[in-house]
Symmetry: C2
Subunit: 186 residues, 2 copies
């Protein structure tokens, strides 16, 4: 993590979730919107109580924002930190990492996290340039996918990584058992 | 807002929402859980497309965390800033304040926002003592309620302020048209 005196190069916001659904392509004339669901039982959950089998499908939402000065070498450290921090609650109420849960992962690009208040408006002067941000985001997603695929527990449980489209509006639905919101800066 | 060199006394996280539902009392033997709904059409929205009338019921979720050193005199500035920052999207895609939208408000105590990473765990050493935090939270909620009640647009639109119980698990369901997540420190 960056020393508190140095400006951060990236900011991640973590929320625990039971289920989530993110639009990856808005509706257009002639075609409906496209969505990803981090958790396949999402609609079932709305109809009836969650069964134990469904309960273990919980996971983590990571909102991610890159600042000017962020570069590729930051990504492995970020992914390692975020997948290993013990913020995911087990059935018995113990907190473990996403890898140990094991849980699903939804990654959401969220450049607004880099906003700074100026009067009644937000400014984003510290945010990374869009093209570079897109590269880093793509790298971040790919490395998360690799790490979860390489982890035996995750592979066996069939956990999934889903992610939003960089630059799009992130139309999100989220069900939590407590968002347990944390911020980590790098 | 605090200068970037000074440690913050409070941290607020803002997310825009179309609808939300927060548990304020967990289920106990003999009685079901109690919930508050920031938006009365929440369940309707799940059944059918949002109508124009329902669309204006959107609002803001504020997650709030106080650090050591926060005191009562901080609250008016916080409330003034958060209710007036232009982050709420109108029907026409313009961004205005919550007061100008006008929109509903859901306040969620979220002490986890004060966490700092230490190895694979989170530490909360900078967080305010629980009793003092509860006082500040209560003051914050009350002032938000006053401000919305005193605002003509809000009063006419019948907007509501809902809030979580300090210290409880914040079981939250959130529907957004883009969370548009922002952090403001004080």
């Amino acid at each position: 993590m960056a020393a508190s005196s140095a400006p951060p190069r990236a900011r991640a916001l973590l929320q625990q979730c039971l289920a989530s659904r993110l639009q990856v392509k808005p509706a257009e004339p002639g075609s409906g919107a496209e969505w990803v669901e981090a958790f396949h039982w999402y609609f079932k959950m709305r109809q009836k109580p969650v069964t134990p089998q469904q309960k273990i499908q919980r996971g983590l939402v990571i909102y991610i924002c890159f600042f000017k000065g962020a570069s590729e070498e930051l990504i492995p450290k970020m992914v390692n930190t975020l997948l290993n921090v013990k913020l995911s609650e087990t059935e018995s109420g113990k907190y473990v990492s996403l890898l140990d849960l094991p849980g699903n992962l939804l990654i959401i690009p969220q450049a607004t996290l880099g906003g700074r208040l100026k009067g009644r408006n937000m400014q984003y002067h510290s945010n990374i340039e869009k093209e570079k941000g897109m590269e880093l985001y793509s790298h971040f997603v790919t490395l998360c996918e690799k790490e979860l695929a390489a982890n035996t527990k995750c592979a066996e449980a069939g956990v999934v990584v889903k992610y939003g489209t960089y630059g799009n509006r992130q139309v999100l639905k989220l069900d939590t058992n407590g968002p347990f919101t944390h911020m980590v800066e790098f």
